[in-house]
């Protein structure tokens, strides 16, 4: 009886041990599976946090660059003591960014932006330098080269760019056999195949691509000038010739030069703001002479301008001394038509104006406008010296290289 009892109890103990072992094995397998699932979740969470941090860093950098360019437009004189910055600026996606801007207009600006999300952190950088909006031809809308034009640069082999903010089909149209010695940049998201229309034998030496974002063409700001009203009378010995010097800078109601009338810029930097029409009729002349004072004319247009066929716009010695005739079209200037005889040397910055160039000779300078139609059949030589701009110039903007850790 005692032996039988012992046997029974041994059998019961074995089953219990087996059951416990089974439970332990199943528990271990369960725990390993939970651990693996956890690993996958952690890795996925890390990937999401990393992407959020990266996007936040990009957002911070974009905001910093935008604020720097806004500051550039808003301030007539650059104030380096108020550079933008942000600390832990929250975003809606459980992420935040911090950015700082260091440097000045002489050495350039270093923008550092760090994005954070949970345990992830990403840092991106850009070095901003002062660039010119006179990079060749720049428009908000379209460029039509309607006649055979040879593009060139001073000096030869300089950078030349045609750039539009538009993504519309044929926003850049080039006449057959047109040679472009540089890049053509179109609006963000645009298709270069449809936006750029090239006829047979046209050659684009550089690259064609879509910009990351539109280039902002802010309206030019007229510097403070005294009101003058009407132009002074002609010279005593030559009543048809009006001579302007630096001290004649001011605000004028209009400039209308009739047949045989001449306007000569003879001394220093002359700045004119014309609130009314500027019209050069056939047989009239606008001359910027060459002398030791390097005379120049900054003409601010508050209204439209037209140079008729047979009129002359002459900048003496412009190839050696650079483009000294600069036309700024304000918001109320919608049309500039230049059909003058002979060569034209001018740098035009009129972001609200439709510009038509139909002079009978060669064209020198650079053009930035709402749209540009070129009907002259000569050469257009871009003066790369217009790339040298100061931070307080109307045509300066900040752009730069991007990199990350």
């Amino acid at each position: 009886m005692a032996e039988l009892k012992t046997k029974w109890s041994r059998r019961r103990g074995a089953v219990l041990a087996l059951a416990v072992a089974l439970v332990v094995v199943l528990a271990i397998i369960g725990l390993v599976l939970i651990r693996l699932g956890g690993d996958a979740r952690v890795r996925a969470a890390r990937a999401v946090a990393d992407i959020r941090a990266r996007a936040a860093a990009d957002a911070g950098l974009t905001q910093a660059v935008r604020l720097m360019n806004k500051k550039l437009v808003d301030e007539l004189v650059w104030d380096n003591s108020t550079l933008p910055s942000a600390t832990d600026e929250p975003l809606h996606s459980n992420a935040s960014f911090t950015y700082t801007v260091q440097g000045d207009q002489n050495i350039g600006f270093l923008v550092t932006a760090t994005g954070r999300s949970a345990f992830a952190s990403r840092t991106v950088y850009t070095r901003l330098s002062i660039e010119s909006m006179w990079f060749g031809i720049g428009v908000r809308e379209y460029v039509d080269v309607l006649s055979k034009t040879t593009f060139d640069t001073i000096p030869a082999d300089g950078d030349f760019t045609i750039r539009t903010n538009s993504t519309e089909p044929r926003a850049v149209q080039l006449f057959p056999d047109t040679y472009v010695p540089g890049d053509i940049i179109i609006g963000p998201g645009g298709d270069t195949e449809t936006v750029i229309s090239t006829k047979k034998s046209s050659t684009i030496e550089g690259d064609t691509y879509a910009a990351a974002e539109e280039i902002q063409f802010p309206e030019p700001v007229v510097p403070p000038l005294p009101y003058k009203g009407v132009l002074p009378p002609g010279e005593p010995g030559d009543p048809n010739t009006i001579v302007l010097r630096a001290e004649d800078s001011g605000v004028y109601d209009n400039i209308i030069l009739g047949q045989g009338k001449k306007l000569h810029i003879v001394n220093g930097d002359v700045a004119l703001y014309v609130t009314g029409e500027v019209r050069l009729h056939q047989g009239s002349e606008l001359l910027i002479v060459s002398n030791a004072t390097f005379p120049s004319l900054n003409l601010y247009l508050g209204n439209n301008m037209q140079a008729d066929q047979g009129s002359l716009i002459i900048t003496e010695d412009h190839i050696d001394q650079g483009t000294r005739f600069k036309l700024f079209g304000t918001e109320t200037c919608n049309s500039i038509i230049l059909m003058n005889s002979g060569d034209l040397s001018a740098a035009i910055y009129a972001p609200s104006a439709d510009v038509e160039i139909k002079n009978s000779g060669a064209t020198y300078g650079a053009f930035t406008a709402n749209s540009i139609v070129m009907k002259n059949s000569g050469a257009l030589t871009y003066d790369t010296r217009l790339l040298d701009v100061d931070i307080d110039d109307q045509t300066a903007y900040l752009g730069g290289r991007w990199w990350e850790d």
Partner: protein, 170 residues
């Protein structure tokens, strides 16, 4: 003695068969569950730490790093390959480096090399193996955005990886 024997032989053959059958079914269930658990563990391990998973993470990381620093100016898109161009340093005056993604014998490589002053890519100076087990790779470019679709297969797992990045430089 007879009384004792009767008490010990208390199970009928039917009872024993029912018990044996029940135990067999329970053990079979446990065995199936154990085998299934092990198979699930291996499948999950492969998905999380397997060769295909590791390849896909590496490919995404390299693609992201290279494309983000590249220029919007230039790219060369071929069948199963993509070359992008970038500046070696923030102060570089021109695009002086290139990176070419290509597939060969089931591997994804990136060739790095110099660009001469005419903009012509020179022979690769460095080639990096990014991912193995590549069944197919396709690339597309839409404005500043570059997309890569990789199909990976190591015989155990098949994964399709799609990643995209923006080119940040002019």
């Amino acid at each position: 003695m007879n009384g004792k024997m009767k008490k010990i032989a208390g199970f009928t053959i039917i009872e024993l068969m029912i018990t044996a059958t029940t135990l067999f079914i329970i053990l079979l269930g446990i065995g199936v569950a154990l085998v299934d658990s092990q198979r699930g563990y291996h499948r999950m391990y492969d998905r999380v730490h397997g060769a295909v998973a590791t390849d896909s993470y590496a490919a995404k990381a390299v693609f992201d790093k290279v494309i983000r620093r590249s220029s919007r100016k230039r790219y060369v898109l071929g069948t199963g390959n993509l070359a992008v161009f970038y500046y070696s340093a923030p102060s570089s005056p021109s695009l002086d480096r290139y990176a070419n993604f290509r597939t060969e014998a089931g591997n994804l490589y990136v060739d790095y090399g110099l660009v001469d002053s005419d903009g012509t890519p020179l022979n690769a100076s460095n080639t990096v193996l990014v991912a193995r087990n590549v069944l197919a790779a396709s690339f597309s470019v839409d404005g500043a955005c570059v997309k890569m679709v990789l199909k990976l297969d190591d015989g155990k797992e098949k994964v399709t990886v799609a990643c995209s990045a923006l080119r940040h430089n002019d």
